[in-house]
Subunit: 273 residues, 2 copies
């Protein structure tokens, strides 16, 4: 829809028509050059105008980090009809804050993050820069969606992910949604015709167990690379995102940010100080 | 208690006695030289042996970030009876992972983070490196506690914070606690005798609204400093940590990490794909 413009008619009408196109915000954590990010821009342009602000460099695992000790740099890297893309020196959440509080002329209708190269299901949501940014966007009283493909390969086939991203965006833009809304969408690494559909899920319980790989620098000093595997603590449950993904479904988990442990609250409230 | 050692008796007995002392893990996000961190070490040594791993540099606002693109460096910065302190090049969560998966000879009885210079109440829990580390420690099936003083001044009076930290640690070590348990403890900036006591709370709803301060480098290029103020969305509620702190109480919020929005889940599950 990006290049469809009325060829005739007064300029004013074109302008009014443009005003009707909703504004969509996009970011990611793999950096502005990532394929998943640029695929998401192409999809979003079918629905409206796009302002995108993404990190200069890979920011995987940055979670909800914000840059407090250093200033942020910003540069415009692309400008076309209905599209402006900026690269930012900070984290994904920094990108959101700069976009909403400084760059965008109006509040967008929707905030998107991704398409991430790598899964952000289960407990990974708290480590994920993709989801950190999606959550932050939802603080501005707009629906937001984070998309992740369960394949870390930057050259992975994005066809199925793109199709499901478009379907989810369409749904969110055409339903009456209650605010706050933030969706964590993961797409399994499968050919499009092998994906069984969409499952709405809860976040699976689990944790990452690390194995540090030790190396030595030329001076003999050790350093450590973080590696890890995800341990699903409820393999048997059919309600989780992990279950959906393992069984060939796209998983959608709505996310909220009240982390209060109400179960513990009842217990510890009895403690005497 | 740190230097209290039986002067007589066979070496074996001393060793057995040492084995009885519980191991306590400590980290923070202000770096290993911060006063709040070293105050927390002094308190913990009253309860047992301490292994502490803290960032080399200030890591405020790092949330649950982990270092994936770079390796981690680690160096021992202090070693005394019952105490070893390491400085790590990574984030607070990196410190926890390195400590639990590589450094500590046994699982500690307790994980501590702080004492942070600055509040981590309400929604700040998701941006907080202090709480990111405390949450990560709780993944190892031990109780964990993050402590924050609502004063950013690194020279702030820590007397009241230290006293309440000791009381909370004592309580957690002497109660039968259910795992997982992670407590977010904030102490108001008040003289000790003006603090009214402890309140168990839920996390207040709110968000940070940013104002970016623009500066220019000597070449005329702009850069931006992130500043912001917290907007409490439920000033009227008496159940929140924000209310407790504003009214002179120490706030304790138990934290869990299932971020599923179950309310939205019921609604979106009806969507047709």
């Amino acid at each position: 829809m990006k290049n469809v413009r009325p060829k005739r008619g007064p300029a004013k009408r074109t302008s009014a028509r443009k005003m009707e196109k909703p504004l969509i915000f996009i970011t990611n954590d793999d950096g502005y050059e990532a394929r998943g990010f640029n695929t998401l821009i192409d999809i979003a342009l079918k629905f409206g105008r796009v302002v995108a602000v993404a990190p200069e460099r890979v920011q995987s695992g940055m979670g909800h980090a914000v840059t407090m000790a250093n200033p942020l740099h910003l540069r415009k890297v692309r400008e076309e009809e209905d599209l402006v893309v900026y690269a930012c020196s900070g984290t994904p959440v920094d990108c959101v804050k700069l976009a909403f509080d400084m760059i965008m002329p109006e509040l967008p209708a929707l905030g998107l993050s991704g398409i991430n190269h790598g899964a952000n299901s289960a407990t990974s949501v708290i480590y994920s820069g993709t989801m950190g940014a999606a959550i932050e966007a939802s603080f501005y009283n707009i629906p937001s969606i984070g998309f992740s493909l369960t394949d870390h390969d930057p050259t992975a086939d994005l066809t199925a992910a793109a199709e499901y991203a478009e379907r989810v965006i369409y749904r969110v833009m055409h339903e009456e949604v209650e605010i706050p809304m933030c969706l964590n969408v993961n797409i399994p690494t499968l050919p499009k015709d092998e994906i069984k559909g969409v499952r709405f899920c809860r976040q699976a319980k689990g944790y990452w167990r690390e194995e540090f790989v030790e190396r030595h620098d030329p001076r003999g000093r050790p350093y450590y690379w973080l590696t890890g595997i995800f341990m699903n603590q409820e393999e048997e449950s059919t309600e989780t995102d992990e279950y959906a993904l393992k069984n060939g479904y796209v998983s959608i988990v709505p996310i909220q940010i009240d982390m209060t442990d109400y179960r513990q609250l009842d217990t510890v409230s009895l403690w005497d100080f």
